[in-house]
Symmetry: C2
Subunit: 567 residues, 2 copies
Amino acid sequence: MATRRSASLRRLCIAVAAAAALAPALVPGLAAAAGDAGTYGLGHDLQQHSPLKQVNRATVKHLVPVWNLSLSNNYPQETQPLVIGGVMYATTTDATVALDARSGRQLWRTPVNLPQDVFAEGCCGSHNRGAAAYDGKLFRGTLDAFVVALDLKTGKELWRQQAANYKDGYSMTGAPMVAGGVLITGIAGGEYGTRGFLDGWEPATGKHLWRRYTTAAPDEPGGDTWVGDNYLRGGGATWLTGSYDPDLDLVFWGVGNGGPWNPALRNSGAQPHDNLYICSAIAIRPKTGEIAWHYQFSPNDPFDYDGTNELVLADLKVGGQMRKVILQANRNGFFYVLDRATGKPLAANPFIDRINWAKGIDLASGRPIDTELTTRIKQAPEMAQPEQIFPASFGGKNWSPMSYDPRERLAYANTLNWGYVYRTEKQEQSKGQWFIAVDFSGWVWPADGKRGFLKAIDPLTGKARWQVESDIPYMGGVLSTDGGLVFTGAQTGEFMAFDSHTGKKLWQFQTGSGIVGIPTTWELNGRQYITVASGIGGAYSLFAADPRLNNVPTGGSLWTFALIDGK
Amino acid sequence: MATRRSASLRRLCIAVAAAAALAPALVPGLAAAAGDAGTYGLGHDLQQHSPLKQVNRATVKHLVPVWNLSLSNNYPQETQPLVIGGVMYATTTDATVALDARSGRQLWRTPVNLPQDVFAEGCCGSHNRGAAAYDGKLFRGTLDAFVVALDLKTGKELWRQQAANYKDGYSMTGAPMVAGGVLITGIAGGEYGTRGFLDGWEPATGKHLWRRYTTAAPDEPGGDTWVGDNYLRGGGATWLTGSYDPDLDLVFWGVGNGGPWNPALRNSGAQPHDNLYICSAIAIRPKTGEIAWHYQFSPNDPFDYDGTNELVLADLKVGGQMRKVILQANRNGFFYVLDRATGKPLAANPFIDRINWAKGIDLASGRPIDTELTTRIKQAPEMAQPEQIFPASFGGKNWSPMSYDPRERLAYANTLNWGYVYRTEKQEQSKGQWFIAVDFSGWVWPADGKRGFLKAIDPLTGKARWQVESDIPYMGGVLSTDGGLVFTGAQTGEFMAFDSHTGKKLWQFQTGSGIVGIPTTWELNGRQYITVASGIGGAYSLFAADPRLNNVPTGGSLWTFALIDGK
């Protein structure tokens, strides 16, 4: 049976070989065309890699903007647009827009009507990272924590469901996903004394199918990793988007920091509690939300090292054997390779130069080896003196997705290179307010000014094949292609292409505002297009107080590039 | 003496021939470089024409955006940026920005701090059309009717003067000009029962030098064209920018509609009063504001036919003789050629197809020949029935500047092709409110849907050499070049280049929002650049209720184009 199935598959593959090569992001249930970019992450593997190669090392010098569309607001544009059947869909904080992908002409724009006081909430600004498309509908979250389904053709709202109350500090900024026929959404608000969760919804109707809380209750597995009812305000937000392996029928989702950050407040006496499933990857069954396995990157995390960063699916040779793995460049500074079926760590090595919270990761136990500093902090509800922690709460890599090039077996990631001044303190919880019980009073910038590096990382060693330094760190997502190009954007507005072999910058274009969004690429009628949103904002802009950004104007717009006609 | 002077000039011309050819816009008092675009209108002649020709009919297919800068707001962008010594300056309603012209990187941004209630005022939206540069300073007006001087290098405000009180209905939207060492500013607010004027200021200090009211007081020449104290609320706004002939030392400025529009309320019984200087061109001495001559296009105008449209200076052969003339495509539908020294009309012919307010212009008397309809309306303070008037209050051409190509002897103008339903009525004046005493209840659109035509107009006949129709009319300014190209923008966002000989569209680019601004071109280090602001809004957008603009997003940005590297 297996053999026959493989043979059938092979024939099918031959028949549609060209199309398949151009379809990195076939959307289940959608009449997706070859060349579409129909899912967040360019496929449920979140590889952010495309086989398209019309734009390549040789031709990229002919890459020019082909259109622009104003997004009519000054919010940060952290979104990744989708392209399905010649129509592009993009989300912003205050609207969802559809446009003709070839001409850039807007087809519809559906406002998100938000209560005015929602803008006081939300940890890191008012943004939205994207949508999911399925069966004629577009699904997105809203800053006031609703899930909304729109008609792909008209933008008409088909249903909306409230996932949580924004007045409690919840918000929804990540792109939903559809896996196994179920719409799955995460939630943000880990700094607000909330309890994280994932929700499953019926795409057609919005019917609520299941909820999986990401802090374990006393009667659940992992419940013993919490003290008392701390789990009820224990964080574990799920504010980015998961990946999906249809063969295993498992969704992999990263879980955020514990709440409050101050770990001693989550412990009892001198004994650290892991606080499952904060700072973890969890594998869930999409139809039920059942947890199949978990792996905790940073047990009892004190440092805001969310485990939310994208969990990229890849096939990788480990110890001479091909393995189905998950890759993650964790905020805590280690690059993890996990077995996809079990969550067992296969490799975990630093991908940044300076880490002082752990000496390394013990692969046998799967646990980090805390430094004396971390051990001490986990027992100190109120530190007498602040300490410098590396990496900072921004992490060795922030939220914006890396790409993974399966041919080169390299991950391309915007990495960060600074620490922060950290001191635990007492804090009373107040509904809808930040509740972290930590004073973080300053950033420890590198003396040489190199705050960021775009790195080509070997997943198994964490080492960089090449790196590009940036004084103002790149905070946008990364796209790589079979054209041998790595695309990312600068906070000063330049959208850039680098040679995937050397890191040499081959091309750039100034997009009018800073880039913190996620590039994508797609093909229509034989022409390859590359799209990115421009619009400064986000965590670095809000918290880093970098005066070099003072002359980067706000203002959101969508950009699409292609080779100039005739090239 | 004259001969010697000419000889010296010729030698000078030979010495700087190349530079001169590239310097259409030398700014007096500024260290302007060849290739600068240092004045509104690309020179004090307001020709909007450039001798640059690197971008031409053959090369324009290689024209691509080289950078974009977000203007961070959703106001209409009606501005024309200036480029001086490698730095671009642009105005918006809420800020003035300077940027590196080559890279598009912002150098400074100085906010305009406006009182919140100013946005309730202003006839046609919140916009700003540009600045003047002189002696190290940038001068601009503000929506609350201040004149502001900024340091060109730093953006620091050096002085500000209040021209009028915005609470009375005054505002300032046009670009100032500097002529004969005097800064001259106009004023808007002709729909608010105001009295128009021009002001002269000392550029260095902001000292007020003179004011010239544009409705004549009883003791002034022209005072007998008004009844009683009607002149005190008689309109005559001066909301666009003048031209300047340094040889004659005359500034030419267009004066707006009468207030209220209802002409019978400005008359006494059956006898129409001309109401000087409404709907006129006036020639003034820049040092004193003294009126040297005037020419009234639309005496006792009922129809909102402002005479404010740009007064373009040209040398033109009229009746076999070279004449120094002024060209204007007036809102009233006639294209005027005036003698520059005297104001005497040399030609006045229709440039649109349908005009029903006048049968023509009598060149001997200089007066229009009113139709029976107009004669009747001028005597009817309260019409029983509405009438259809052609052209509409938008005019045969709205405010956005045409260009004039001195080689082709053609004016390229975005012309408008509709009428409106008009009925005079009684209205009490109320401070700071619209005071027009006319009910204009609808637009009379052309049956074939062709609301606009970009026309190449022969100034002496008003006839079009060619025309390009547009269903949604083009409302932006026009630029022409020695490259044989005519540039303008569409309200749907396309920035376009047409062949100046045929009107064939050779190129376009979608700029993200609608274009209502004024393109310009400049040269730096041997490369020709073309710049235009994008950002929908303005009179058509506000008043025409055109549903086809519903999917044109707001959002201001600056665009600069050049030939792709290597072309």
